[in-house]
Symmetry: C2
Subunit: 614 residues, 2 copies
């Protein structure tokens, strides 16, 4: 029945042979990779404004127009990162994720740090994107706000099922929402700018803007840095292009770079456009986070009409697609790390439908847990996001510097310079992010990364020890095995006799043992036993405390010690009922006994099942 | 570690020999049996008033002084039931619960109905008593009201632990709270009456009393009957004396009757006294059930001083003790019914501490579930209570009628008359209760009783079939068993070789089988296998869908069919890791395989564990 349910939800198994790589044109690749990149423009501006306005509560007012230069700085950073990554694409045309680049150039520890960061970030991409996508929905339909966690979990569930079925990321499906989002976002920016130039700022908004404080001081610097760090959320998703490079048609590196530059350009324009527009219209984040900044902007520019709903729907769609991209990246990276023996091997294998089902399930569970823990609030999740992203950036760029020093190509010095500049820039941002966001949750990730690294090493160590211990290098063939078979019985019946017959067939030395409980008629059992199986001794154990397992286990231990180097096989008569509920009507003695015996060395457990007819 | 925790909470096991019956004097027995009987006076009056005032909402006003004649009618009913039960005590001096009496005189179905009612009522006694006890606490300390469910669950937990430790019901412990309750309740009634006679009714109370409507009509009759039915909650607990009769010193029946009459007299006086007092002081139930009627009365009579808190504390104490009595009754009845094979046999056995631990756990779980489901509100639980109580009364009395017709004693006609009158009276009340409370929740019990009866019969049927099927009457000794041993392997290592050696020692016909997954190096394995164990064939199964279990199970089935009447033993190399978390780093293939093989007849499963050193 469970298998039927699985088949309906997930579909029937697929043959291994039907697995083949597909190569994408630039246009299709753009559609598939865009969601992760561009979707961050839906929340990056809001994060900057939240950081800037946070000072009001403690009496520090930062002028809101600071958001524009901060946005420009982030645009510049995007440019640096993209140029630096462009070089990675050329050097690793088969896929140059931070884990691979760090492993090949910086060693295991750096690779594990990068791997840990990327795994954490995939989980956060799902959590943040889904939460932001649902925030777009609840901004449009405020009545749904209180059900936002349920909606998020439902969305994760749908993405999970789709991925367990093994959706191929098809450009046909992705292109629609992506292009509609790009179109509607640019429409919003252009119409917004035109209306502002023609009509001026809406009067209501002026009240919300705190009056600028004239002097710079430490508090303002801190807030501005925090706003910058928050806005860096826009950069998440650049890594995905480097990771997914092998899906491009040849010339791979060139096509991938073009897509990367295009995406960076689109992202920078969207993000800056929304930031400028938010400033011009005096939009500040909603105090209860009940309406997103983009939604407020769209409502102001378009009024609450069809165009407004188009913006919200497109935003939700692209964010859900962004969450979906992690469902390819996370299981694939986990599988690579599991094949390197750093993660449990269950993550290495493909499931029925040619996808890494265990990785997909793990990702969903972790993301769902984060959503519930953080109340589906984007703003609470963002600080966790940045540390991982910038650690991966920095390690990847630093790895490229080491790479160029090793391979010695023409223009090597230039390439080293570009990547070194990238590494330094992202490294500085990493320090800023870790410091200014530390108390907001970044400490969690700063603490989690070394734990993941240690765990990965321990996993590898265990697999290494297992292989060594099971190795046949020092194997000596044992002399012939002699058995003693012990049969624990509760009475005399067909089930017991079947076990006795079986035990006699595998050993010449069979002992039956029973525990004498107060209600048991001891004499009658002995008599019946001797008339039926006189050649098998029956040992009767006393149990003053009415325990069954402890006396049995002690007896089995004693026999094992007493027989020296023989093996002891415990033959357990087992009762298999015809219908499931009958099972609960019998004492679960055998189950516990089998579990306890598993942990005793030199004891072999044999179940002789007796199948009830009804 | 779990065993240590269990020992701290529950205590070390007790020897069977230390089990012995204790016999109680009348005074001690009164203390022990009183809590269940008398505690109902804490909520019975409130239930009558709630039923009477319920009409106000629909425009039907019943005069509140009706509560007094209703109380008198319930007192009369108590007298009838007690006299009728008095005869049972003489006829069944070893314990005459409704289940026993019905089984001996009315047959299995009647006994099962009575048993089902009693089991349900034990659960409800716990739920109602604990809820009412906590209501007395939250009446005194209103701030605790919103935590009432937590408090109830905590109380159930404490009673559970105490009973798992095996508290003997000691008169020394019970006497204190019981006598303090009797004393404080009578003090409340007497001081209340004296103050009323000297000072008259308090002025504030008059406003609450609805003006009496002059004419009788159907609605009023219905409400009065419902009030009567609600007040019958006072009668719960009489059955306990008949059930527990064997704890009395001889002459058992005489001593038990005296205690029964004394308790009935005390109960009737307390209940009537509180009912009259509530009328005189115009106390009506608190609209949000935030303060009990008894608490309101005590506050009015004593003001909120030490005497008030004494009443509340004594009420809570006696109600918790009343809940505790079910923890003796329920497991004992469940054990009797399990020994008759009507309930799972796990309920028949005594645990470590000489108490029926499984029954105690089951009772706590069910009571806790009821408390949570019904929000710890006494008023919502009461309608569920009555149907079971009066069904058990009626069956018990009817059984006694049959008993007297059978045994033919002097004054037989008189005894038949008494019990028949009791049966008819309680039967009529049963009909009234079931009808007027049907929509309030009684339907649940009316539906549950036949379900329990059917389930009990199905359980007995299963045990009967099991005994017949396992019986040795038609046993034929099998001819000598020949084995085929199958070893599922994933590679070649020490663990596998250990399993091969074992398989060779139990069978001359050993086959190894492996599933060829795409990443497996098939040729290398075959070569290694042939060099190590050339005499054991290795079968390699293809698995285009990457499944491991299905091809293995199919192969085992094929071998079983092909070998005709031989037995097939599946020898499974099993991996036992040194530390618990290592366990999760290995595929759980063996676990699933063992579970699936258990359901295949003629297949025997042997685990050959390999214990990792670290």
């Amino acid at each position: 029945m469970l298998r039927r349910l699985k088949e309906i939800l997930i579909g029937s198994p697929l043959e291994t042979e039907s697995l083949h790589d597909q190569r994408l044109t630039k246009k299709s690749a753009l559609a598939i990779l865009a969601s992760d990149n561009l979707s961050s423009s839906a929340y990056a501006t809001e994060e900057i404004l939240l950081a800037l306005t946070a000072g009001v509560a403690i009496g520090v007012a930062v002028p809101l127009y600071y958001s524009v230069p901060i946005g420009l700085a982030i645009g510049l950073l995007t440019l640096i990162v993209v140029i630096s990554y462009g070089q990675t694409l050329h050097a690793y045309p088969t896929g140059g994720g931070a884990y691979t680049v760090a492993k090949e150039n910086l060693g295991i520890t750096a690779a594990l740090i990068a791997g840990a960061c990327l795994l954490i970030d995939y989980v956060l991409t799902v959590a943040v994107s889904v939460a932001a996508g649902i925030a777009a929905v609840t901004s449009a339909v405020p009545a749904l706000f209180e059900y936002r966690i349920h909606l998020c979990l439902f969305a994760v569930g749908v993405i999970l099922l789709a991925n367990l079925r093994g959706v191929r990321e098809s450009a046909a499906v992705f292109a629609g929402p992506v292009y509609i989002f790009i179109f509607s976002a640019f429409l919003l920016i252009i119409v917004g700018l035109v209306r502002y130039l023609m009509e001026g700022a809406p009067p209501a908004s002026q009240a919300d803007i705190p009056s600028p404080s004239p002097a710079w001081n430490a508090a303002i610097v801190f807030l501005v840095l925090r706003a910058f760090a928050s806005g860096c959320a826009a950069l998440t998703g650049i890594e995905a292009v480097a990771q997914g490079v092998r899906v491009f048609q040849p010339p791979v590196a060139r096509n991938a770079s073009i897509v990367l530059y295009t995406l960076a350009g689109l992202l920078a324009s969207l993000f800056l456009g929304i930031t400028v527009l938010a400033y011009l219209y005096g939009v500040v984040p909603h105090p209860d986070a009940k309406e997103t900044v983009v939604s407020q902007l769209a409502r102001t520019v378009f009024d609450t009409g069809p165009l407004y709903y188009l913006v919200q729907a497109a935003t939700t769609a692209i964010l859900i697609l962004a969450a979906n991209t992690s469902f390819t990246g996370f299981p694939r990276l986990a599988s690579v790390m599991a094949q390197d023996r750093f993660l449990p091997r269950q993550l290495a294998n493909m499931g029925d439908r040619l996808v890494y089902s265990n990785g997909i399930l793990l990702l969903s569970l972790l993301a769902a847990a984060l959503i519930v823990l953080f109340n589906a609030q984007v703003h609470s999740l963002i600080p966790l996001y940045m540390v991982g992203v910038f650690t991966a950036f920095t390690l990847s760029q630093a790895g490229m510097v080491a790479h160029w020093r090793k391979v010695r190509v023409p223009e090597g010095a230039w390439k080293i310079g570009v990547n070194a500049f990238g590494a330094i820039a992202t490294g500085l941002v990493l320090v800023v992010v870790a410091v200014v966001k530390f108390t907001h949750g970044a400490w969690l990730i700063v603490a989690a990364i070394p734990l993941v690294v240690v765990a990965c090493r321990a996993v590898r160590q265990h697999y290494y020890m297992t292989v060594r211990e099971l190795s046949l290098a020092d194997y000596e063939k044992p002399k012939e095995i002699r058995h003693t078979a012990i049969i624990p019985v509760a009475g005399m019946n067909k089930m017991v006799l079947a076990a006795v017959e079986y035990a006699r067939s595998i050993s010449r030395d069979v002992i039956a043992v029973t525990v004498n409980l107060d209600y048991e008629d001891r004499e009658k059992l002995l008599e019946e036993w001797q008339s039926r199986v006189p050649d098998v001794p029956l040992v009767i154990l006393e149990s003053p405390y009415r325990a069954i397992h402890r006396p049995l286990l002690r007896f089995i231990d004693e026999v094992e010690t007493w027989r020296g180097d023989d093996m002891v096989t415990v033959v357990i008569p087992e009762f298999v009922t015809a219908s499931w509920w009958h099972h609960f009507l019998h004492n679960q003695t055998t189950l516990f006994l089998k579990a306890a015996l598993l942990f005793k060395p030199r004891i072999i457990v044999t179940s002789v099942p007796y199948h009830m007819q009804r």
